[in-house]
């Protein structure tokens, strides 16, 4: 039922993966259990460190917005994104235009 999937070049066995995952989880939990034993829940040790400043009550003030994620990637790829987003005008005739151009391109090359 679980079985092995052969790809022609390799294989995938979900049972083996689950067994491996269980062993790795057990090892991780064991390593975690070897940690410091002077940790006390509900004391100052639980406090968030906010560069020495008081932690704001509202999470909205300390969260990173999605628009800031991967800013380096976007900055590095700016010329690429300028072209790509430029294509996505959202104008109906442009959308139809891309369709007509693609069909015309295929029509020309299949007849050559």
């Amino acid at each position: 039922m679980f079985g092995t999937v052969y790809t022609g070049f390799g294989y995938w066995d979900v049972t083996a993966w689950i067994v491996f995952f269980a062993i790795a989880s057990g090892l991780t939990l064991w390593l975690r259990a070897q940690g410091r034993d002077d940790y006390k829940e509900g004391t100052d040790q639980d406090e968030i460190y906010w560069s020495g400043n008081p932690v704001p009550d509202d999470g909205a003030e300390i969260s990173v917005p999605a628009s800031s994620a991967y800013w380096g990637f976007r900055k590095a790829m700016e010329p690429f994104y300028k072209v790509l987003t430029g294509m996505h005008t959202g104008i109906g005739t442009d959308i139809v235009g891309f369709y007509v151009l693609t069909v015309a391109f295929m029509a020309v090359f299949i007849l050559l």
């Binding site: 679980f2 079985g3 969260s63 990173v64 299949i110």
Partner: protein, 521 residues
């Protein structure tokens, strides 16, 4: 009367009955309306599963509409079939199962999701018409009939995408979809008319048995491939898709995922079963592979920079369609090369077809999870979200499963289908695998962003009143989660019973033609 013989007709009759009953039943209150929505969707799914089982056991099911006998395709004295014929092989049956599960999940979800809105009678009618159009496209053996079902699905989609007509963005998205879809439909009709003009037949098997690859046939093929590639969201004709998916109610977005797969089905049916060995060279296979690669890469790069959750998932749809086009395109490339087909082509096709199932399930689930977030918070912008895992634990868990599956993380089903594609398309050219792997990495990056910004992080004060969504919505997501986990834990069973029979049926052009014409090629 044996009901099993009439399953192809029932598959269309049940949602059609639901569509016409909806305006009447909705007059009698919310409970009856929900019973109709869930009941009809469930019965449709049941019929689809029975049809799939019948096809696996008994081979291709052929059903003649309006003829003297439902299984007589060529009455005495006739050289060509003239009735509308439904032809269900294992590939059609596989598609029908995927589509009906998505329809059922979307219906379950919509019972609670749509209750805040008016005009639900119209919603239920359009929902069933969309289901009907989708299923019709998947089982018809008639070219003109395929066009009719495209139109039924399209018109229902326009209404459903623009269902929130007080939102200008929804109306705009519906209008754009209508514009490009209608231009595409007309081009498709020209192709169907041209083939009819030359071969005096509309039945796909009949045309396939006579087809000669001339100038008209080449142009008809290009018109069909272009139109159906556009309708399944292939680059660079995908631009209607993120708008339409983002603005439609989430239950509808889930169903639209399956509807786009019906167009992909049509594309593959025409390429494999109608043209097949007469495809004439490798231009069209390479065109499909190229569209697949471009869809994967450009779709995912656009998704990475989105911050509106449904638009982000919409761009991932473009990217995921690319995997299927790549896998099936490689299969088409080696259709007449027995060695290539045996060595890697068939594996690529299995990967592509398995990905259709996986994509329909996890992408539907992602849209439903995005809808659940919108229902609970009223927000779609990821910049305004955060810390929702504490308030919505079930939605979070199901979102994580879907996100891991689409990102191709082992052991999830998305990993298995992608693995089949990676390893087989490598044999054509390593660059194909490199693009597919890069796409998968960017998909993971994109969903890490969504998970981190929506569900993790400190709780925002505006969300202190947020609660988990009602049970109907959770059950809707639960159906798709079970499908994802089922395909994850039992990949061999899924491949042996769902995917391989579908792939074998798709490459068996003679079998498809022979079921209607008797003699085959």
């Amino acid at each position: 009367m044996n009901w099993n013989d009439h399953l192809p007709a029932l598959l269309l009759a049940v949602p059609l009955f639901g569509a016409f009953m909806a305006p009447i039943v909705c007059l009698f209150g919310k409970t009856l309306r929900n019973v109709l929505l869930i009941g009809i969707s469930f019965v449709t799914m049941l019929v689809a599963l029975l049809l799939w089982r019948n096809v696996l056991v008994g081979g291709i099911a052929v059903y003649v509409m309006g003829g003297e006998s439902f299984n007589l395709t060529l009455p005495s004295g006739m050289a060509l079939p003239i009735r509308i014929i439904m032809e269900v092989d294992a590939f059609s049956a596989f598609m029908v199962v995927c589509g009906s599960i998505a329809s059922f999940a979307g219906a379950l979800f919509s019972t609670n999701y749509m209750e805040k809105f008016s005009g639900i009678g119209r919603f239920v009618s359009l929902y069933f018409l969309l289901t009907l159009g989708m299923l019709g496209m998947m089982i018809t053996g008639d070219f003109f009939n395929f066009f009719i079902f495209i139109e039924i699905a399209s018109i229902a989609s326009f209404g459903l995408v623009a269902f929130w007509r007080d939102k200008p963005e929804a109306v705009e998205a519906g209008l754009k979809y209508a514009l490009v879809s209608q231009v595409g439909s007309m081009i498709f009709l020209i192709a169907a008319g041209s083939l009819y003009g030359k071969y005096n037949a509309l039945n796909m098997a009949a045309i396939g048995s006579m087809l000669q690859f001339g100038v008209m046939e080449k142009l008809a093929l290009v018109f069909i491939v272009g139109t159906l590639a556009m309708k399944c969201g292939s680059f660079p004709m995908h631009m209607w898709l993120p708008d339409a998916y983002a603005e439609a109610p989430s239950g509808v977005s889930c169903l639209l995922v399956a509807v786009s797969q019906a167009s992909l089905y049509g594309l593959m049916r025409v390429c494999f079963s109608l043209y097949g060995i007469n495809l004439g060279g490798s231009f069209i296979p390479w065109m499909i592979i190229s569209m697949g690669l471009a869809s994967m890469f450009f779709g995912v790069t656009m998704a990475v920079v989105q911050h509106e959750i449904k638009r982000l998932i919409g761009y991932h749809s473009v990217s995921q369609v690319g995997y299927m086009l790549l896998g099936l395109g490689v299969g088409l490339l080696v259709l007449t090369d027995a060695r290539g087909m045996a060595e890697y082509g068939f594996t690529a096709m299995k990967g592509g077809i398995f990905h259709i199932f996986n994509y329909t399930m996890y992408k539907g689930l992602l849209f439903l999870a995005a809808g659940a977030i919108y229902y609970a918070t009223g927000k779609r912008d990821l910049n305004e979200m955060g810390g929702l895992a504490r308030r919505m634990p079930f939605t979070t868990a199901m979102f994580v499963i879907a996100a891991a599956a689409i990102s191709g993380l082992p052991p999830f089903n998305g990993f298995v289908s992608k693995l089949l594609i990676y390893e087989s398309v490598f044999a054509v050219h390593p660059a194909l695998t490199v693009v597919a792997l890069l796409t998968s990495v960017l998909t993971l990056a994109s969903f890490v962003k969504v998970f981190q910004t929506a569900f993790l992080g400190p709780e925002k004060s505006v969300f202190t009143g947020v609660r988990e969504v009602p049970s109907g919505m959770l059950f809707g997501m639960g159906v798709l989660t079970l499908a994802v986990l089922g395909a994850t834990l039992f990949p061999s069973w899924t491949l042996s019973n769902l995917v391989e029979p579908a792939a074998k049926a798709l490459v068996d052009q003679a079998g498809y033609i022979g079921a209607v014409m008797g003699g085959g090629l």
